[in-house]
């Protein structure tokens, strides 16, 4: 790609959820949903690269002999102006551990079945604002987009430049989120954090039990973890 001005175009933002969320629009079997359009110049992607210095006496106290890459996270902020409030409700709930668990309190793990999980929009409207228990893991020990995984897959379209951004494991950080209410149109301030969530790698000899619980030796490895890419969800 040659050097040029970066003009993405109309950056439509879509969100995809774990399969415990039913499709929110007549777009087929996927729950990929329109989140919305942002106000001018408010979609900001800030990579947070972490490094750790390796100090060697021979190099003195101030300059490291080597630097270790300690992976990264993303900070994504936006001010939405034309958006779907139902999808915002789902995002808020998923970022707080999901409402799914409240519908399935007796089920261990996160096994999904036909009809399990959210109902139609009326159910979401009734449960929005209801919290999952403290300590609920967002990944739930299952792969991204699987039932019980509460990370949100965020898709930022780039119709002019054709260089979209896909961030597969995102959650609302909590501040700043501003939900204004009044007679004027209400821009919604949102801030997400993306981490490279990685489903634990099973070593040889391990099994995945039908109830959804993992057994055997597992390894959480950052090697090859995806923080972002340019392949939009479908």
């Amino acid at each position: 790609m040659a050097r040029d001005f970066r003009i993405d175009g109309e950056v439509l933002i879509k969100a995809k959820f774990g399969s415990h969320i039913p499709p929110q629009a007549t777009l087929g079997p996927s729950n990929l949903s329109d989140l919305g359009l942002a106000e001018k110049n408010t979609v900001k992607i800030r990579p947070l690269f972490y490094h750790r210095e390796v100090q060697v006496d021979d190099f003195g106290p101030h300059v490291p002999a080597e630097v270790l890459a300690m992976i990264a996270a993303l900070d994504i902020s936006m001010t939405l102006v034309h958006y779907d409030p139902d999808i915002v409700d789902i995002i808020e709930a998923e970022s707080l551990g999901g409402m799914w668990q409240l519908l399935q309190p007796a089920v261990s793990g996160h096994a999904s079945a036909a009809g399990v999980g959210y109902g139609v929009n009326a159910d979401i409207a009734g449960l929005a604002g209801t919290l999952a228990p403290a300590g609920t893991p967002l990944g739930g020990g299952v792969p991204l987009l699987a039932s019980g995984n509460h990370y949100i897959s965020l898709n930022l379209y780039s119709p002019v430049l054709q260089f979209p951004l896909h961030v597969p494991s995102v959650y609302l950080t909590g501040q700043p989120i501003e939900i204004p209410m009044g007679v004027e149109y209400n821009p919604l301030v949102m801030r997400f954090r993306a981490i490279p969530y990685r489903f634990p790698l099973a070593l040889s000899g391990n099994q995945f039990v039908a109830s959804g619980q993992l057994t055997g030796s597992l390894e959480v490895s950052s090697s090859g973890a995806v923080l972002w890419d340019h392949n939009l969800d479908v």
Binding site: G9, E10, E184
Partner: protein, 191 residues
């Protein structure tokens, strides 16, 4: 078309509004006492690069609006009252009554649907055959001037035309087109 004087002719103004209004059918608004002024406001944004000093390296087209100044001298008062009511948020039963604060002029619905308070403004051009149709217009106030007295009233009106849309992303078959091929005005009068 050869170079010539541009003489539009008797520029009769027509209006058409939402289907539950008194101007649901194409209605004559009236004749102006002088020229009708159509003023496009094209919006552009400079792209500045340090290497290019204070001049822009390129300019981006950022859509546009129009302003139309029209002083009515021979007009349909009822049609004007309806346009005024629509400009005040529409939907209310009596002339002079307002809609609630924050009422959207387009209402998120299609052109001419109940809830869409924009007026389609049509200006005839019988001599030059270059009429104008503005899809989404509303009367601004000011300037809006109703002189009252013994002489004929020449009502000063000003209209704003905006590129109203129900979907700013301009999705067509799942493809984001934005304002591509959006028609702000054309030369085909309403019927």
């Amino acid at each position: 078309m050869a170079r010539d004087f541009s003489i539009p002719g008797e520029s009769l103004v027509f209006v058409k509004g939402r289907s539950d209004s008194s101007i649901a059918a194409l209605t004559q608004l009236g004749l102006s006492d002088g020229p009708i002024h159509v003023r496009p406001q094209f919006n552009h944004k400079d792209i500045n690069v340090d290497a290019w000093g204070d001049a822009p390296a390129d300019v981006q087209w950022m859509l546009g609006t129009l302003t139309i100044d029209l002083t009515l001298i021979h007009f349909d008062y009822a049609a004007l009252e309806t346009c005024s009511a629509l400009a005040m948020g529409g939907g209310q039963p009596a002339f002079g009554q307002m809609a609630r604060a924050g009422t959207r002029m387009g209402g998120g619905v299609a052109r001419f649907a109940p809830g869409n308070n924009y007026v389609s403004l049509n200006i005839a051009s019988p001599i030059a055959n270059k009429p104008w149709r503005f899809f989404y217009a509303y009367m601004t106030g000011p300037p809006l001037d109703f002189p009252l007295g013994t002489e004929k009233s020449i009502v000063t009106t000003s209209w704003r035309v905006v590129p109203y849309t129900t979907d700013p992303a301009g999705l067509v078959g799942g493809v984001i087109l934005g304002a591509t091929n959006y028609t702000l005005f054309d030369r085909v009068l309403d019927t």
